[in-house]
């Protein structure tokens, strides 16, 4: 079981509030990813990181920012949460950019 911890596991927040989700890995993998899962859409890439302080946008990056100040931590921030950001968020890691992804157990976020 890949050492990936997502926190919190569940969160309910109000529209307009900032929210930060944390992904922590103990595998020392270079690549980290944030996906969101929504019914009918599967998983969609939000942002990814290919090293400390190196990040880039994915398919659905609007309204999200990320930071990676240490190899083991990748933070996803919703600056001002909206109801459309209600979703399940998954962090994933990989050793190289073409080795299989290992996912965390997800964070269920509800924006009311």
């Amino acid at each position: 079981d890949a050492g990936i911890t997502q926190s919190p596991r569940h969160k309910v927040t109000e529209t307009g509030t900032p929210v930060t989700l944390r992904c922590h890995q103990t595998e020392n993998h270079r690549y980290m990813y944030w996906y969101r899962q929504d019914p009918g859409h599967g998983l969609r890439l939000i942002h990814y990181s290919y090293g400390v302080k190196d990040t880039d946008k994915g398919e659905v990056s609007d309204g999200y920012s990320v930071s990676r100040s240490k190899t083991e931590d990748f933070l996803l921030t919703l600056e001002s949460a909206t109801s459309s950001q209600t979703s399940v968020y998954f962090c994933a890691i990989s050793r190289t950019d073409n080795s299989p992804l290992h996912f965390g157990n997800g964070t269920r976020l509800t924006v009311t």
């Binding site: 690549y31 599967g42 073409n98 992804l101 290992h102 997800g106």
Partner: protein, 113 residues
């Protein structure tokens, strides 16, 4: 527009029989395909993959078939077991995109005893 589609939201199969999960894609640049399996309240786990230079890849009870001309792949599970009950996601990527995976919407497989 979804570039990877799993047109069957759910599939029910009797234990011991074959499960066939299907996936279609539209992007001709995709050259590597993966299947992930997901249990409730857990993250997806990698199951099996196939490169576009092959048309079949086998791993135990799991076989993935790729038909490039039809832009179609399928996952066969033989024999199906109750523990296979999960949501299965098909994913694809292009060679220069590395792990920038495009996922299908998923198919929920239920294996009945």
């Amino acid at each position: 527009d979804q570039q990877v589609k799993q047109n069957s939201p759910s599939l029910s199969v009797q234990e011991g029989r074959i499960s066939i999960l299907n996936c279609d894609y539209t992007n001709s640049m995709f050259d590597y395909f993966l299947w992930y399996k997901k249990y409730p309240a857990e993250g997806p786990t990698f199951l099996i993959s196939i490169s576009s230079i092959k048309d079949k890849n086998e791993d135990g009870r799991f076989t993935v078939f790729l038909n490039k001309s039809a832009k179609h792949l399928s996952l066969h599970i033989v024999p199906s077991q109750p523990g296979d009950s999960a949501v299965y996601f098909c994913a694809a990527t292009a060679g220069n995109a590395g792990n920038m995976l495009t996922f299908g919407g998923g198919t929920r497989l239920m294996v009945k005893t």
